[in-house]
Symmetry: C2
Subunit: 163 residues, 2 copies
């Protein structure tokens, strides 16, 4: 189990040295950091047998979450939280593997349309059972009410960014 107690002890020490340090906000940020690290590492481990890593998984799932299985690179960057240069690299790899296809848009020829191929969709549906298992495992300490509460609070916190 991931133990947060050492982090709390460090926050106490920090507070004793620098009394103005906001303990609770810092604890939240550190918790999110820890959780993200676990999520990232575990997703990487689950995807490895499929020859993918976590960012590639994200790219594929963002496209799968689109009604027509396709997005532009900039939409993908936004959806997956990747820098655009990184999206180019990741999608190039996925194209080379045959999971997505590139096509230049007709309406705006600056744009590129990326679409999941049938092989890409088949791949996604082959790894989704493992992902579903992972997601349940990662949230199993929270009942459905707590999950809903947590979602509300995280959304609220997210609303404080970039304004």
């Amino acid at each position: 189990m991931s133990d947060f107690a050492p982090t709390e002890a460090r926050l106490q020490v920090t507070l004793s040295k620098y009394p103005g340090f906001p303990r609770d906000p810092a604890a939240l940020v550190r918790l999110i950091k820890h959780l993200y690290k676990e999520i990232h590492d575990e997703a990487n481990a689950v995807m490895k047998p499929y020859g993918l890593n976590h960012p590639e998984y994200n790219i594929l799932m963002m496209m799968y979450g689109s009604p027509d299985n396709s997005l532009n690179p900039s939409q993908l960057a936004d959806a997956a939280g990747e820098k655009s240069a990184n999206v180019t690299r990741l999608t190039t790899q996925l194209c080379e593997k045959g999971y997505i296809a590139r096509a230049s848009s007709e309406d705006d020829r600056r744009k590129v349309t990326l679409t999941l191929t049938p092989e890409g969709i088949a791949l996604i549906e082959s790894f989704l059972p493992a992902i579903v298992t992972l997601l349940f495992r990662q949230t199993r300490k929270l009942d459905t009410t707590e999950q809903a509460q947590l979602e509300v609070l995280l959304k609220k916190m997210l609303a404080g960014y970039g304004e």
Copy 2:
């Protein structure tokens, strides 16, 4: 403001294509991913004037959170959530900048003791006001009760990992 609505729409589409997909766990994981990205980017921006990035900030703060301002590389790796090879690189940089000092332990000569220098402590205390401001800003949408609730729920979720 960071908008989570597109993510929710994508989850709906995913659910329609693959009904077994667990909507709420996936939403939580994606929220944490988004939040971490914001935290990471904003911390990088705040630290840039001090010639540091987010991981370097973390290293320094983990040491500052220790009573004697010192930790071993392996403790640092654990505390900051970095791989040990990365800790070597980051701490070497911070040593070169004069913010921390390396010394080999006396009791166990395999171990290395990393300690904040007076310059390192002075640097930390010079950027902490900006960090405090950032932390308040990042959590300003949550009142103190909500922050406490969120902390409880995140800790509970974190407990589901690595068991």
